[in-house]
């Protein structure tokens, strides 16, 4: 037994992963506990380095989409869209308004699908199989919609440079189908959310557990639903011109516990439904893609985006032949997990794993940083960098 301070006694270490039946993706959790109470936590996430940025180096920019969309399976559209936003911004390519509407539509459809995956996973971690399976059942509506719009349930491949693919254009019958499916979903979803919120056993597990204050959320740059459920009113969609035509609320809760992180996402789904309805009802006529551009030299350009888990950054430049140079991607998971390392302190061991899962970590798309320290090159995970150097944009 080692004493760290007068108040904190750490009795033992419990470690599990990266291979563990409850961890969907590979990461190592080390919990330093006193009996059942977590006194400290360490997460290691550098287990799935896929070299996406290296693969992108030197590719013609038009081909980048093939890889950027595959950075993540759950938020594939987000990476594809932000990747094309970089070049559209760098080369001043004007995107038709109709294309922007459809890009927003597919993004919100995928946001709902992602949040429902979160519910499915969170309830599975909570041990509530029925709610978990119900979440996945509800999600099917949006997987189908992605297939109807983009032709594929997981990789809809809607955005291209200058607009969207022709197959993703909305017909009148498809608009009708979307509205019908969304209306039907909303009824079932509201019933489901009410049942979850009225379940005393589930609420007793979520309430007051995994507390993350607003200051800590800002300090560790816990963006997206994680930060917004701790009272940090920050949503990149407010700054995106693509979202200007739409009326929606940014859901901000102040409790900062696991319940808030679940409720925040539950309410955000309702806002996404609002946006989907606005897109379908107000979809402007006109072209869907602008082909009037030529790849050429582009300075390093960085674009930020509100993905389903928080702030996403894509940054790259083009050389004179239009080939990609120095592609950088930063996903929200490393900073969110760094915040969760703090949030789970004081929880029971079983609750701590739930707290870590409550930031909806997506690990395979976030391990790619190489750091040169004292002349020596060393691969460091993003979370190590945040821990060591703090966060800065």
């Amino acid at each position: 037994m080692t004493e760290r301070s007068k108040d904190v006694v750490v009795e033992k270490e419990l470690s599990f992963g990266p291979v563990h039946p409850a961890l969907i993706e590979p990461f190592r959790i080390r919990l330093f506990v006193n009996d059942e109470i977590v006194e400290d936590c360490e997460l290691t996430i550098n287990m799935a380095h896929r070299g996406v940025e290296r693969l992108l180096e030197g590719l013609p920019v038009e081909r980048a989409l093939l890889i950027t969309e595959r950075v993540c399976g759950i938020c594939s559209n987000v990476h594809a869209w932000n990747s094309v936003r970089v070049i559209e911004s760098g080369l001043n390519i004007k995107v038709p308004e109709r294309a922007n509407y459809i890009r927003v539509l597919i993004n919100e459809v995928q946001r709902i699908a992602s949040h429902l995956i979160f519910f499915g996973h969170a309830f599975e971690v909570l041990g509530h199989e029925t709610f978990s399976m119900r979440s996945f059942l509800l999600r099917e509506v949006f997987m189908d919609l992605m297939a109807y719009i983009g032709g594929n349930r997981v990789m809809p491949s809607v955005p291209v440079i200058g607009g969207i693919r022709p197959r993703a254009d909305l017909t009148e019958s498809l608009k009708r189908v979307i509205l019908e499916r969304v209306d039907d979903f909303e009824k079932k979803y509201l019933e489901f959310v009410q049942r979850v919120l009225a379940d005393p056993l589930v609420m007793s597990r979520l309430t007051g557990v995994g507390l993350l204050s607003k200051d800590e959320a800002i300090k560790y740059h816990a963006t997206g639903p994680t930060g917004r459920s701790s009272g940090w009113d920050y949503d990149v969609r407010r700054m995106m011109y693509e979202y200007k035509p739409f009326d929606f609320n940014v859901i901000v809760l102040t409790e900062g516990d696991n319940k808030a992180r679940v409720v925040q996402r539950a309410l955000e789904v309702i806002e996404s439904l609002k946006i989907i309805r606005q897109v379908v009802k107000n979809l402007p006529e006109g072209p869907i893609v602008n082909r009037d551009w030529v790849p050429g030299k582009m300075d390093f350009t960085t674009m930020y985006f509100e993905t389903f888990r928080g702030e996403l950054m894509h940054s790259y430049g083009l050389d004179s032949q239009g080939l990609i140079r120095n592609y950088k991607i930063r996903t929200p998971t490393p900073t969110n997990l760094a915040a969760m390392e703090k949030a789970c302190i004081g929880d029971h061991v079983t609750d701590a794993v739930l707290t870590i899962a409550s930031c909806d970590p997506c690990l395979t798309c976030c391990n790619r940083v190489e750091v040169i320290e004292s002349g020596k090159t060393r691969i460091m995970s993003d979370i190590e960098i945040v821990r060591k150097y703090g966060w800065r944009r």
Binding site: E13, G17, E42, H128, M133, S204, R205, V353
Partner: protein, 347 residues
């Protein structure tokens, strides 16, 4: 009774009871899983798959040596567990009631306690590669806190099992006392005599129905509810499965059992599921599992479905509770059990 006749009777009844109990208990998990699946709008597995075919499959799987501090001891715990559960069940059948006086509340409670101790022993032995011994560079990088015990999750599960032994299963033992207090005796035979007086005078082909089952009284009903929750705790089922919570301690102490040992574990768990259900029917409804009275035996088996069915429905709607919730829940249930116990004095 002639001693030789008694010994022959006890051997025959044990063989019949064991065969029927094992075969029937392997159907129960299938019913349980099917019900859960229907609640979750799924088709679910075929009824015989989770019990029968799972045990057969594991029985013929390739041998995998468990990683444990004392592998031989760890492996023997499964067979010890099956023996304990089988004895628990046999002592609740009529021919065994008089043997050593263990057909009593003390016999049942003693065997159940032994069964609980098994999880502590299993947890303290198992050392799966999924946790501390996983070859990963976290210590090379530098431990955040140095010089402390690095515990296997199974050992943590053993600590949880110890806590559950101390407080978690208390309600079940209190509830167990109620039929005995109502009968003013510690023996199962007296409990049956009070609830089902015609049983002892019935012929082998008759169906003696209880005239005053304790479950139909207020204290009996309260005790039955408490028994049901204790049943979930003893079977480590949700919401009380903290000692085998998948998200941290995975399967707990039974994690390293594979092939024949895994089949043995399933046998033990399913047999316990049936034994506790059958004991409930015997003590609270007054219909014992009598291998020499077929109708009585069949009725006991049918009524033994009550608890697994109720459990399947509750499990489908429950998350895992942590000790934050388990402590108040068991204290509350124990209080309810004590109330039932006090009320049962007036019966």
């Amino acid at each position: 009774m002639d001693p030789m006749l008694f010994i022959a009777g006890i051997i025959l009844s044990s063989i019949i009871a064991t065969i029927i109990a094992v075969l029937y208990s392997l159907v129960l998990p299938g019913i349980e899983r099917k019900l859960q699946a229907r609640v979750q709008q799924r088709i679910g597995p075929p009824v015989l798959t989770p019990g029968w075919w799972a045990v057969l499959k594991f029985w013929y799987k390739g041998k995998a040596e468990p990683i444990a501090q004392m592998p031989l001891f760890y492996k023997s715990l499964i067979w010890l567990g099956i023996t304990i559960v089988l004895l628990l069940f046999l002592f609740s059948t009529p021919y065994w009631w008089v043997v050593l006086g263990w057909g009593s509340v003390l016999g049942i409670a003693g065997f159940l306690k032994l069964e609980e101790v098994l999880y502590v022993l299993m947890g303290s032995q198992s050392q799966s590669i999924l946790t501390t011994s996983m070859p990963i560079n976290d210590l090379v990088k530098g431990a955040k806190i140095k010089g402390i015990l690095r515990e296997f999750v199974e050992q943590h599960s053993a600590e949880r099992a110890l806590k559950m032994m101390a407080i978690g299963s208390l309600p079940l033992y209190i509830a167990l006392l109620v039929p005995f207090v109502a009968a003013r005796s510690g023996m199962i035979s007296d409990v049956i005599r009070v609830q089902n007086p015609v049983y002892f005078a019935s012929s082998w082909f008759s169906l003696p129905l209880p005239s005053n089952p304790v479950i139909l009284t207020v204290p009996g009903f309260l005790a039955a509810v408490v028994y049901f929750v204790g049943y979930l705790i003893l079977l480590n089922e949700r919401p009380f499965n903290i000692l085998k919570a998948k998200i941290d301690v995975i399967e707990g102490g039974v994690l390293e059992y594979a092939s024949k040992l895994r089949a043995g574990y399933y046998l033990m768990r399913n047999l316990l599921l049936f034994a506790l259900s059958s004991i409930f029917v015997t003590l609270f409804i007054g219909i014992p599992f009598d291998p020499f009275m077929p109708l009585c035996l069949i009725l006991n088996m049918i009524l033994s479905l009550i608890l697994p069915i109720a459990m399947a429905i509750l499990v489908a709607f429950s998350p895992i509770l942590t000790f934050r919730q388990i402590y108040p829940a068991t204290v509350g249930l124990s209080a309810l059990g004590v109330l039932a116990l006090i009320l049962s004095v007036s019966l």
